[in-house]
Structures are given as structure tokens and as C-alpha cells.
Point group: C2
Chain length 112, copies 2
DNA sequence: CAAAGTACCTTGACAGGCGAGGTATCTTAT
DNA sequence: ATAAGATACCTCGCCTGTCAAGGTACTTTG
């Protein structure tokens, strides 16, 4: 079973920043990575991905530059900025909070 | 810090069904319960709540009936149906999946 | 009687996700 | 040569869920 985008909605930016925190990368690759990390259960649609890039660039969380092409077409690489690191930290914390709250709200009673 | 609704987006129905799985309830009460269970960190807006009720009723997950008023205005109670129980089970499973995937995607590397 | 709490509901705007469509480059097989 | 397929980027417009704002109505309390 795969996961609908709406369940992830609002966390897209966090996912991308978390990826860029590890190393610079470009759209196509980030997409593949996400797909593979999730075991094929989740995949960011391209339109969503580029929307997010634009948003993150506008808010100064990432910067981009055209990089070596390798095999295939030219690539636009993205790099996380100090602002982006800060934002990422916040978003990760928010995710922890979200999890915590959701788990409490979804508790039915099968647990002790 | 409180959690924005957009981070929960897509899980609203699950939250409500999980509440109704415990016992019949009505809008106002469910809202209070959610707010208190989350320690005041999250609260469903009324408009969102009633939108969800409508959706769930249309899909046969819940049924409603006018119940005893108690103190205050008349109340519309909601009751979960067998379909709703089934749906709830699916949504809980989806939440577990979502958590699992998100945790993998957000991993930076500060862990061992 | 007025105010505050309980309780319900609708409308319209907004934002993010995404289907569909488009461009350009490079490799490989025919 | 050329066609196909992978790599790689981007935009437009629709859809759906959230929510601010506004409204109704009843009950209790000061």
C-alpha cells in the first residue's frame, strides 16, 4: 500500500531540507532518493517538488546553481543555507510534536 | 509551540473516527477532547470539524441523531458504523506507515 | 435583561498537491 | 542517421482540505 500525498502535506519542505542537509543535490536525484528511502511506498510528484524548491528558494532556505551534467541533461543543484538549517531544525521538531499529538489523538484503547 | 492544521491535514477523519470508536459524541465535545488530549497544542477548527462530519456521513462511516440537550443547546450525536470501523482501521494503519516513511525521509544523521 | 457559555452550521478565500503537458540533452540500439 | 528511452527541468490549472468570519439558537448566571 502506498501513501497519498495529502498525508504528507505540509511536510514536503521538511523532507527536502533534510535531504539537502546531508549534501547538495538536484531535483531528479532527490526524487529518486525519496522514492527509494520509502521503499517505493511514497513518491513526490515533480510538480510538487519544483513548487517546493521555488518556495524554499524564495524564503532563503536554499540556493541553486547549475552544475556538471554527468549523463543526461544539465542539472540544477540546490544547497541549504544557514537559514535553511535553522528552518529544518524547527520542522524536525514540529514533526516530533505532530507525531506525539497524533499518537495521543488516535489512541483507541487496545493498549494497556 | 502549537501545531498548524496543515501538518495534520489528511488525518482529520482518522482523529474523529478514533474518538467515535470509543463512544458516541457530539461536535463540541469532540473538539474539547481533542484540544485537551493534545495538551492544548492542537485544536480542530469548527469549520474543519463539520466539514469532516459531513464527509464521513456521506461515505457512510458515521450516522447522526439528535440527542438529549443537557446544559446548553441541542446536540447532534455521531455514531460510528461498521464501515467506519473498517475505515478507521485502515486510517490507523496508514498513519503508522506515514510515520515510518517520514522518519526514514527526515533522518539526517545525528543518530548512531 | 444582558452577557457568557453551550452548541450547531455555512460561505468564501487560500494554499499545497498534482495531472497533464512541454522543453532539452545524452545514450543506445537499429 | 535516427528513433527510442532515460535523464533532467519547468509551468499551468484544477482539486481538495483548512479555516477566518459570520450567523443561529438555547440555557444559565449575574
Amino acid at each position: 500500500m502506498s501513501i497519498a500525498g495529502d498525508l504528507i502535506r505540509g511536510h514536503t519542505d521538511a523532507i527536502i531540507l533534510a535531504r539537502l542537509l546531508r549534501s547538495d543535490s538536484y531535483g531528479y536525484e532527490i526524487n529518486k532518493t525519496i522514492s527509494s528511502l520509502s521503499g517505493g511506498r511514497f513518491e513526490l510528484k515533480e510538480a510538487t517538488l519544483y513548487t517546493s524548491f521555488k518556495r524554499l528558494e524564495e524564503t532563503g532556505c536554499i540556493v541553486s546553481y547549475w552544475g556538471g551534467s554527468g549523463p543526461g541533461a544539465r542539472r540544477r543543484y540546490y544547497s541549504i543555507t544557514p537559514t535553511g538549517r535553522q528552518t529544518c531544525r524547527c520542522l524536525l521538531e514540529e514533526w516530533r510534536e505532530t507525531k506525539d499529538i497524533m499518537d495521543k489523538l488516535l489512541e483507541t484503547e487496545e493498549e494497556t
